[in-house]
């Protein structure tokens, strides 16, 4: 979504000036009301990163930014997405991979399923940001759901041409879950029966072969 820019108009005369000051007053009241309503009804998570809301030095004043996007869209991204600020939500899968020897940065894989097909993106973040992740997704485990805001690189010069997302703000949307397989002896019955039948058939075969000899 492209950013909007302001437009100003000039109106001559004293009447116009009085009208303008009156309008300004109403506008200030409306603005204060809107801010207070927004503060009262907005979710707490929206303010979770107020203290981390730093200025992004890579965000040039004339550049646009894509805000909410999907991991699948980044998986099919063209040059338009390159070096843009994006925000994605996905499940953390795999491991926290150490970058370099000092271990100050980590590689995290974010995954999201859209229309039945999964898509992933590599996220480069600090070890402190990675520490917010409580669970890594794998079989029997749903990983932490993260919201990551950062700069997307189609061919990252810093990481030898990798497609990656350099995280600025990392927010936990949902904690991870464990759902291990429960042992159910009944589920093994069809397999055990099939194995027994197969072994009997094999035994009969060897018996017949020995008789032929």
């Amino acid at each position: 979504m492209r950013t909007m820019f302001d437009r100003t108009t000039k109106t001559p005369g004293g009447f116009c000036a009085a009208l303008r000051s009156c309008r300004m007053g109403w506008m200030l009241i409306a603005l204060a009301l809107a801010v207070s309503l927004a503060a009262a009804f907005s979710p707490l998570s929206a303010f979770a990163d107020d203290d981390e809301n730093l200025v992004n030095p890579q965000q040039r004043p004339d550049s646009s930014f894509i805000y909410d996007t999907s991991i699948a869209a980044l998986g099919e991204a063209d040059a338009y997405y390159d070096n843009q600020t994006v925000q994605v939500v996905g499940e953390v899968v795999g491991d926290s991979i150490r970058e370099g020897v000092d271990g100050r940065h980590r590689w995290i894989t974010l995954m999201a399923i859209e229309k039945g097909v999964d898509a992933t993106v590599s996220v480069y973040m600090t070890a402190e940001q990675a520490a917010k992740i409580d669970t890594y997704g794998k079989y029997g485990t749903t990983g932490t759901k993260l919201q990551v805001r950062g700069t997307f690189h189609l061919v990252c010069a810093e990481h030898e041409g990798l497609t990656d997302l350099h995280a600025d703000i990392v927010t936990v949307v949902e904690k991870g879950k464990l759902h291990e397989d429960a042992f159910d002896a009944g589920a093994f019955v069809p397999g055990a029966v099939a194995v027994a039948v197969g072994l009997v058939l094999l035994g009969v075969f060897y018996y017949l072969r020995e008789r032929q000899r």
């Binding site: 491991d95 992933t120 079989y139 061919v155 030898e160 041409g161 042992f183 589920a187 099939a194 000899r213």
Partner: protein, 512 residues
């Protein structure tokens, strides 16, 4: 006159296919034990059931002929040809039950891709796949990489005096030692030794980058199997890119290189015959071919906006070149980068590298360096003959485990297989185009399937058209058998169903 299959042949073929299916139950025990050890009870039930199905199917097939006798040449051809597809059908049963495939055809696609060591995959949500299912995917690579028949021979499944016809029907012709069974055992020993060594090194790397010990060891084992067998499956959906580790990529490149060199040449190095190794036609063709293609690849990338800086070119470019020529299919760039960010020239170079492939008698697919070298030598011989006086006899020799002469038979074999590969690449591309895909991507994907390369331009994906998927399955199967075995089999089946034309004296007797 074309040879036909008799009922006796069919019963013997069925018996030996049953032997192979029964053998697959031993391989299926590995994921079953993995599932039990890791407490993955649902996959454990899938593998127990599959073992039961394989036992019933295998025993049933063996009943077709209780005492089969020794395999004839034609029967061996049929056993080899069918083995790849029958075992892929069995292999796809637990894959489908895992719930990670959109339909059974997708599971069969991955079964064939795994067994033929193509490495292309249409699996869904790979990152949540169980250890047991992953173990099975790489067991398929292990069996297929060494060659189903080679593995079966090394276990003595066809008897101690198994004929060379079985061995050669799988596209192998050279022997390390005179006995086929001993040759197969030698190949298996070399391979397993290298895989164990690589697993140890990769485990250290994976532990260093912060992976859990169990995941580090298992993923290292799987990557080592996939790398050496030039398979291409990876345990994570981002392939090798997931690990963000240069040392890991270097180890895998070495493994892929070793896997793409003829096992006979491995044995020469093992014996200390270094000069024989470097004089070999295949090695020389490989060095020359890779040097030329690397230059073209680098020049193409330099002219483009992306990947033109040296670190990116070295890290991503070299790995992709090794992965493509060895027909492994590992990727350290995304599919989107492959089709969009890479220059079209570099994209085509990757396809051409896959098309030619690695050495004969290795785990690589494609046309093979030996055939390319022989065709090049044959061109030299033709030019020499054109320039030589009529009375002269032109002789062109080459080194391949000893000095050999270029003969019409050798050139015919090389040209036949080369032509069949080229035709399959073209037909596969046309099928892709007919399904409405981009022509360049269709060409790339067709080459990737028939050469068992496995680097995908995303045409092979979950939910792809069934007709295209079936065609790709046939391409992978045909490419792994290097066409001749499969074509001979198809012709023989066709002829066997055709009514026999009677001789004139038989017709007269019937009329009376």
């Amino acid at each position: 006159m074309w040879q036909r299959f008799s009922l006796y042949d069919i019963r013997v073929i069925g018996h030996y296919l049953g032997v192979l299916v029964l053998f697959s139950t031993i391989a299926l025990l590995v994921p079953l034990l993995t599932a039990i050890a890791c407490g993955e009870w649902v996959p454990a039930t899938h593998y127990l059931l599959t073992i039961g199905i394989a036992l019933i199917l295998g025993s049933g097939l063996r009943f077709l002929r209780i005492e089969p006798g020794r395999l004839g040449r034609q029967q061996a051809l049929a056993v080899t040809g069918f083995a790849w597809i029958v075992l892929a059908v069995v292999a796809s049963i637990p894959l489908f039950m895992s719930g990670h495939y959109a339909n059974y055809l997708d599971a069969l696609f991955d079964g064939v891709s795994g067994i033929t060591t193509t490495g292309a995959s249409v699996i869904l949500d790979l990152d949540h796949l169980s250890y047991a299912d992953n173990m099975w995917r790489f067991m398929m690579h292990l069996l297929g990489g060494f060659g189903l028949i080679v593995v079966a021979l090394s276990f003595g499944l066809f008897g101690k005096r198994a004929g060379a016809s079985l061995y050669s029907s799988e596209g192998r012709s050279e022997h390390v030692v005179p006995n086929v069974v001993q040759t197969s055992q030698f190949i298996a020993k070399i391979g397993m030794g290298l895989i164990i060594m690589a697993t140890a090194i990769l485990s250290v790397v994976c532990l260093f980058i912060g992976m859990e010990p169990l995941r580090a060891v298992l993923q290292s084992l799987w990557l080592a199997i996939s790398g050496f067998t030039t398979g291409g499956f990876a345990p994570m959906s981002q392939s090798v890119m997931y690990y963000h580790s240069l040392p890991l990529e270097i180890v895998l490149m070495l493994l892929m290189l070793l896997g793409s060199i003829n096992f006979v040449l491995h044995s020469e190095l093992w014996k200390g015959h270094v000069a024989v190794f470097f004089r070999d036609l295949e090695i020389r063709t490989m060095v020359l071919w890779l040097a030329v293609m690397t230059c073209v690849f680098a020049a193409s990338l330099s002219a483009s906006l992306n990947f033109s800086d040296l670190p990116a070119m070295l890290r991503r470019g070299v790995f992709m070149i090794v992965s493509a020529f060895s027909t492994t299919g590992f990727q350290n760039i995304t599919t989107n980068q492959l089709t969009g960010a890479l220059s079209s020239g570099a994209f085509l170079v990757v396809a051409i590298l896959m098309a030619v492939g690695g050495s004969g008698g290795s785990t690589s697919g494609g046309v093979k360096f030996s055939r390319m070298g022989i065709i090049a030598k044959s061109i030299v011989a033709t030019i020499k003959e054109a320039l030589a006086p009529d009375s002269a006899r032109v002789v062109v020799a080459y080194n391949h485990v000893g000095r050999r002469m270029i003969t019409p038979e050798v050139v015919k074999e090389a040209m036949t297989v080369f032509t069949l590969y080229a035709l399959t690449y073209v037909v596969g591309a046309l099928v892709g185009i007919a399904h409405g895909y981009d022509a360049t991507q269709a060409v790339f994907e067709s080459i990737s399937m028939a050469s068992n390369g496995g680097v995908s331009s995303a045409l092979a994906s979950p939910g792809m058209p069934a007709t295209l998927e079936v065609f790709y399955i046939v391409q992978m199967w045909a490419g792994r058998l290097e066409f001749v075995t499969l074509l001979a089999l198809v012709v023989e089946i066709f002829v066997s169903f055709k009514p026999r034309r009677r001789a004139p004296h038989e017709r007269e007797r019937a009329a009376r």
